[in-house]
């Protein structure tokens, strides 16, 4: 078989995998592509699963990224409800769950991440849920009937977004957080404090510094969350949102370098020259911060899909982007750009009490490393540009609303 007719195989049909296939075609790649995904669905958007899906505003059809006709017309074979079970890098083959093997020219691993599981008594009770897939979202939606009491284990983005949706649907909500504050791993204390207060004002109970000991059940269904201090939080459903684990096992078993994520460079290349990896399953360089990191975000999935497609097609690499992220909770839109790795100071622009503010994180020499903006999209966008340019600003300038973001970012 000639080299060109062996396909590009993409293991994983989530946001990164689907986007890689589309980008390859956009860049003019004409090789056959095989896109393999374990879910029953074509690539779709996950962010709305904790929001519009639960409220009924979105469904499988509206979240599908590209219709079936696109893949068919673009010579992209989609194999759903299947997964790659083994990679043989030396032989350039993958084994698929239906027993077939495929000779690949290039392989892109896009296996994503899975919700981290807690080994707790009662974890297998009915009504104990996680939120990663559309099917998960459907189960959660069904659990949010009138009179429902939702225990949210984990005060991260998944937990807070689900809590906001659940409260809006009229459910009783208690958030149980292991650390001293919500969003402990991903936001500064000031931001955590703001969100805790907001969620409490909207009726969620938030319990921090709380270790979950067990899930209690009745007739096979979860009825309560028992904390280490003996308190039991009654519930009719429990959502566990305590982080995501990269699905690196396939790569690891094939001898590809992993380090809590498949290690890749800025072209999304793994330690094997014919194998790329993109999305939530990877650990990648962050050029702005001179370190490796595992970025769990849609913008990262898209950026890496572009990196891999460009490298495979021999096109120039896309310019590295500032990592960014957004979260919608109630009428709050949180937009974050950059990461405050070495920040020592925070400039507060806007008004925290009014829920319209942006926190700029500065290093000791005034370099803006990150911005966390709540309902201030101009500050988010301007902040992102400032971060990209590695601009140095004084706290007083940033905090002065008479100075526009255009001026600050110039």
């Amino acid at each position: 078989m000639s080299e060109e007719s062996r396909p590009i195989v993409i293991a994983g049909a989530g946001h990164a995998g689907g986007s890689a296939a589309a980008m390859l075609r956009q860049l003019g790649c004409e090789q056959p592509i095989v896109l393999i995904g374990e879910e029953p669905y074509l690539p779709y958007q996950r962010p709305p699963l904790s929001k519009q899906w639960l409220s009924g505003e979105a469904n499988e059809e509206s979240l599908t990224l590209r219709p079936a006709t696109f893949y068919a017309g673009a010579n992209i074979e989609t194999r759903l409800r299947q997964s790659v079970t083994a990679i043989d890098p030396a032989a350039h083959t993958v084994t698929v769950s239906d027993g077939s093997t495929i000779d690949y020219d290039t392989l892109i691993i896009a296996t994503g991440a899975r919700a981290r599981r807690l080994t707790l008594p009662g974890i297998d009770l009915a009504g104990v849920l996680e939120l990663r897939t559309a099917d998960d979202a459907e189960h959660l939606k069904a659990a949010l009937h009138p009179g429902a009491r939702l225990a949210v284990i984990g005060g991260g983005y998944i937990g807070l977004e689900a809590a906001a949706s659940a409260r809006t649907l009229g459910a009783d909500v208690t958030i149980v957080e292991r650390e001293a504050r919500v969003l402990a791993r991903v936001a500064c204390p000031l931001l955590s404090e703001f969100f805790e207060k907001f969620h409490r004002e909207r009726g969620s109970t938030i319990v921090t510094d709380a270790q979950v000991e067990a899930l209690e059940g009745q007739d096979g269904r979860v009825s309560g969350v028992r904390l280490a201090d003996g308190r039991v939080i009654p519930c009719t459903a429990a959502l566990i949102g305590v982080g995501a684990m990269p699905n690196e096992e396939l790569a690891k078993a094939a001898g590809i370098e992993c380090d809590s994520g498949i290690v890749v460079d800025l072209a999304a290349r793994t330690s094997d020259p014919s194998i790329y990896a993109v999305g939530d399953c990877t650990r990648r360089p962050l050029p702005l911060y001179d370190r490796m990191w595992r970025l769990e975000s849609v913008p990262n999935a898209l950026e890496q899909a572009k990196q891999a497609a460009s490298a495979i097609c021999g096109k120039p690499a896309p310019a590295p982007e500032v990592p960014w992220f957004w979260s919608d909770q109630y009428e709050l839109r949180l937009q974050i750009a950059g990461m405050p790795f070495e920040a020592t100071e925070i400039a507060v622009r806007g008004n925290v009490a009014e829920g319209k503010f942006a926190l700029f994180h500065l290093t000791a020499n005034g370099t803006v490393q990150a911005v966390e903006a709540v309902n201030m999209p101009t500050e988010f966008m301007g902040g992102r540009r400032i971060i990209q340019k590695r601009k140095r600003l004084a706290r007083a300038q940033i905090e002065d609303m008479a100075v526009s973001m255009q001026q600050l970012a110039a």
Binding site: Q26, L65, F70, A319, M376, T378, G382, R384, R385
Partner: protein
């Protein structure tokens, strides 16, 4: 069904049918037209679905309301012009049949 023409920065045109009810952004993404990224999936959170709207269509769709989320996001989008819009905020209607939009040099 309304036909929308998307013109890449290098001049390559793409004319596709986009059903009423979809956004101009969705028309581009679903047809894999290069030049519109739509990183946030249409939630007005990223400004990477930015397009320039040709007249007389610009008069029909209008400009974003001052102070709106779209206007704020656009203020820092790459290479904005007076005819800039975020295509995820333009709903396709029969009145837009034949509309032409142009993509900027880059979305990032």
């Amino acid at each position: 069904m309304p036909r929308i023409t998307y013109i890449e920065h290098n001049g390559t045109p793409h004319t596709v049918d986009v059903p009423v009810g979809k956004t101009v952004m969705q028309g581009a993404i679903e047809n894999n037209i290069p030049g519109i990224d739509a990183d946030c999936g249409g939630e007005c959170a990223c400004a990477t679905c930015h397009v320039y709207v040709d007249e007389p269509w610009l008069a029909k769709v209008g400009l974003p309301a001052p102070g709106s989320q779209e206007a704020s996001m656009l203020s820092f989008a790459a290479v904005t012009q007076p005819d800039s819009r975020l295509s995820c905020q333009i709903n396709v209607t029969d009145a837009l049949d034949g509309m032409t939009v142009r993509m900027p040099e880059g979305q990032h």
